[in-house]
Amino acid sequence: PKRFLHTLLRAPAGRQPEDAAQAGGAQAFAKRTLSWRLVGEGYSRQLSAEEQRHVFRLAFRMWSEVTPLTFREDLAGPGAMVDIKLGFGRGRHLGCPRVFDGVGQEFAHAWRLGDIHFDDDEHFTPPTSNRGISLLKVAVHEIGHVLGLPHSYRAGSIMQPNYLPRGPAFELDWSDRKAIQRLYGSCAGSFDTAFDWIRQERNPHGDATARFSTYLFRNSWYWLYENRNNRTRYGDPLPILTGWRGVPAQNIDAFVHIWTWRRDERYFFKGNRYWRYDSDRDQAYTEDEQGHGYPRLISEGFPGIPSPLDTAFYDRRKQLIYFFKGSWVFAFDVNRNQVLGSSPKKMTEVFPAIEPRNHPLRSLDAAYYSYAHRAVFLFKGSTYWRVASAEDRQRRPGLPPNGLFPRQPISEKWFDVCDVHTSTLTM
């Protein structure tokens, strides 16, 4: 019997239902994984069943890309256990007390923490069409209601009550994200690795230029992070397999980009092996110039470096790779291809805490030099420590070399890095 307790509403953590009521009556699901179903007698006559379910899968995925919620389609469980049920109907429909009015005016409605009904007299169309009423847009809107959002008259909000004819492909904008995150919190989580990928190009004048994109890896998926927009790329995360051919499909330990005037080498590390990645052909090398096959043992390519690693990053100024394992740091000289004689050292020694007892100590998840922030970050769990840069030390000479500023939440610098349900990962 206790299993049903979770169907009883609880206000988000830290808020009492009364508060929630004061906040306009918005209440939220207590669970983080919600099930949904297009009910059997509720299929539309206008789109194929698969098309309808695909649109709803995408609509739910869009909300999970900006919240800690994940949604899974439940095709077989008992109806009473399904959190959100969707269906189409005309006039009097699905036992609903609210009668649809036919073509025009009301095209759908939602019941809080319950069901969504679409008026099948309306001309609903798939996202690929620019005619009629976009089923995807309406579905995202109604799901917003079920999750607890009211209407909004803010331009650009998906929660506007009136349907806006086609426009550019719509996404959940900043304010919609903040509104739903006020109910469910923002996404937090650790990374397996994080890195900036450099692309070398020539500008119209023929000068060599370099641009970068930021990638965050977690389990078997990854995000491109748009620093200028403070969010992940629309439609991410994607499976690693689809974006990085030839590297391990999940749980990558580290990425290192050795970038000097003469060298431009990119390596992925996992377990006791490493892969080299070919930026031009966008896939991992199968063998090196001497015919040695990849992946290779880390101990062969980077003598003196233990494995498996926690993480690693390349310091371009010093032309050193810092490998991390447990509480130890191994500094590797890429020009002499060997570990510095003084290594390994304790992480607390190489990267001392600026504020006492505010240090990750051991077992980092990721170490990352960000070109956007011009700083090195050490990640552990859902927090990061920023390493004092040369500029920091010019401003504050008293700072120790490589000093770590106090920890901060990752989600307050890299926003909306949210998981989606694995069943929708390949959408």
Binding site: G91, D101, H145
Partner: protein, 131 residues
């Protein structure tokens, strides 16, 4: 006796599309304002009694009149970027007739009513203490 059609129902004439009755007069406008929560107002503001938080089987009440109607229209016109005259003009009627979501504008989504019991019947035997 209902006629039986061919097995694949291909000769079944599609049922005629229903059309929503246009909102073209004051009464329809009053119903619209009431249905989507515009007739509500702060307590004591002289509006009609607030619409109960839930669906209504027999349709919304008649809606606001007089000053309350003007006030409700003004609020609706303002959020729809229309001149807030408080009078029912053509632009306001057009805004009311646009395709829209059935959830009220100024209240939380409709009260959850389910076609199936939301909480399964308690198992036989003593009720769970946790409740």
């Amino acid at each position: 006796e209902a006629l039986f059609h061919s097995r694949d129902r291909s000769d079944l004439a599609p049922s005629p599309l229903r059309r929503a009755t246009p909102i073209a007069d004051l009464l329809a406008a009053q119903r619209f304002l009431s249905k989507y929560g515009w007739a509500e107002g702060p307590p004591g503001a002289g509006f009609a009694a607030p619409v109960p938080r839930g669906p209504r089987r027999d349709g919304p009440p008649e809606g606001p009149r007089g000053a309350a109607l003007a006030e409700a229209l003004r609020r609706f016109q303002k959020v729809n970027a229309l001149p807030a005259s408080g009078r029912l003009d053509a632009a306001t009627l057009a805004a009311m007739n646009r395709p829209r979501c059935g959830v009220p504008d100024t209240r939380p989504p409709l009260q959850a009513v389910s076609t199936a019991p939301r909480t399964p019947p308690p198992p036989p035997g003593p009720r769970p203490k946790a409740r």
